[in-house]
Each structure stands twice: as C-alpha cells, then as structure tokens.
C-alpha cells in the first residue's frame, strides 16, 4: 500500500529524491560501463589482433589478457548488481513501502556466487 499525498512541497521533494536516485544509478552505470568496457575492449582487440597477426602479441600479455578482461567485467557486474539493489530499496522507501534490502542483497550475492562457480567450472573444463 502506498502513502497518501502529503502536501505539494513534500510531493515535490519526493520527486526530487527520485530524480537523485535515478542520477545515482546512472553514475553507477557509467562507472560499471567503464570497467566492463575496458574488459570487453581488451578481450576483443587482443583476440582480433592475435588471430590476424599471430605472434605479434607477447605470449605473457596474450595469456594474461583474458583474465584481466574477465576480472574487469566481473567487478563491473558485481558493482552494478549492488547499485540496482540499492536503487530498488531507495525507490520503494519513497513510495512509502517498508523495504529491507537484505533479502535482495542476499539474492544478488547468491546469484554472483553461482555465476562465479559456473565461471570457475568453465575455466577448469576448458583447461583440460
């Protein structure tokens, strides 16, 4: 159930808070995009370069690049997931609903752990 209207200035203040929450999440999107973008750009360019010009990338870099790329994408995904959970909590509270982010955080962290186990399993399978 949502709270009844509480006067024009309070309602306008709620709208400003919602806009502030929106801007906070867009900032997190930008930060995560920078991290994930770095990972994706590194993976794509090194992969394309390696296939077209074999041997031109130092073996140490060629071996390290996918791990750095995956780590950057993973950190970006982790931060963005936490930001989404925080945003949902803030907007629910604005609507006058009691909201505890604990369950959502637990779900998000559980999802990330499952994803990490899946990724580790894939690495092991590929390595053998």
């Amino acid at each position: 159930m949502t709270a009844p209207p509480q006067g024009v200035t309070t309602e306008l203040a709620k709208e400003r808070s919602r806009a502030a929450a929106e801007r906070t999440l867009t900032s997190w999107i930008q930060s995560s995009l920078t991290l994930m973008g770095f990972g994706l750009a590194l993976a794509s360019t090194i992969d394309a370069w390696n296939r077209h010009f074999p041997g031109s990338v130092a073996p140490a870099y060629a071996k390290l690049a996918p791990y750095v790329a995956l780590m950057a994408i993973g950190v970006g995904l982790f931060l963005l997931t936490l930001a989404i959970v925080g945003h949902v909590g803030r907007t629910k509270n604005l609507e006058g609903k009691e909201f505890s982010a604990n369950a959502l955080y637990a779900m998000a962290i559980g999802g990330i752990i499952v994803f990490g186990i899946f990724a580790a399993f894939a690495v092991v399978v590929q390595a053998h």
Binding site: E22, R23, L33
Partner: protein, 130 residues
C-alpha cells in the same frame, strides 16, 4: 497575464524540481553518450584490424553484436529519458496540485539490460579464450 503564485514555497520547490530534472537529463546524456560511443568504438577498432589483415578470418561477429546492443540500448535510453523529461516539465507546470507518481525507472531498465549484456559477454569470452 499570469496570476501571481499564491504559495511561494511550492513555487520555489517546483523550480528546484525543474533544475533536478535538468540534471537528470544531463546525466542521461552522459550515460547514453558513453554507451553509444563505446558500442561504436569497439566495432570500429575490430573492423579496422580486420581490414588490415591478410588472414581471411572473420573476428567482427562478437564485437558487431556487442556494439549493436550497446548502441541500441543507448539510443533507447536517450529517447525515453528525453520523453520523460518533457512529461515531467509539463506535470510540474500544470495548475492543479502536484502528487508524486510511482512509475517504472528507466535507470533500472538500462542497468538490468547492461547486466544481461555483461553476463553474455563474460560467458562468450570465457568459452572463446580460456
């Protein structure tokens, strides 16, 4: 001639809301610019490498799909945020009182889409490289 405002506090609050809406739109412009330029950039770099190569193998598919998804997401977000901004300005200036409306968050939609794109890219890199 417009009648003078009766509630100074409410009028000042409306002005703050207008400024907040403007800052939100600017935040969206920066975000969409990042999405579009990154999507376009990654595809261009990989295509440039492809054109200079004699190997005859196609490495543009992954970066092409990724670039298209990001450009599409950035364009969608820009259109929707501009439309929401216009609606919000109209809602603030209407003569009736102001009531906060619950509505779907565009930032949430874009963030969830970006998480999906990130997970797909992560899995693609994992199986392609390792």
């Amino acid at each position: 001639m417009e009648s003078p405002p009766t509630n100074v506090q409410a009028e000042l609050a409306k002005e703050r809301n207008r400024a907040a809406a403007e800052r939100t739109l600017m935040a969206w412009i920066r975000t969409c610019l990042s999405l579009i330029s990154f999507g376009f950039g990654i595809d261009s770099i990989v295509r440039a490498i492809q054109e200079r190569s004699q190997a005859g193998i196609d490495t543009t598919r992954f970066s092409g799909v990724l670039g298209l998804a990001l450009v599409g997401l950035g364009t969608y977000a820009m259109i929707v945020s501009a439309s929401e901004h216009a609606k919000e300005l109209r809602y603030i200036t209407r003569p009736e009182g102001y009531v906060y409306r619950q509505r779907r968050s565009l930032a949430l939609t874009v963030a969830v889409c970006l998480v999906c794109i990130g997970v797909l890219a992560f899995v693609a890199i994992l199986f392609r490289w390792l």
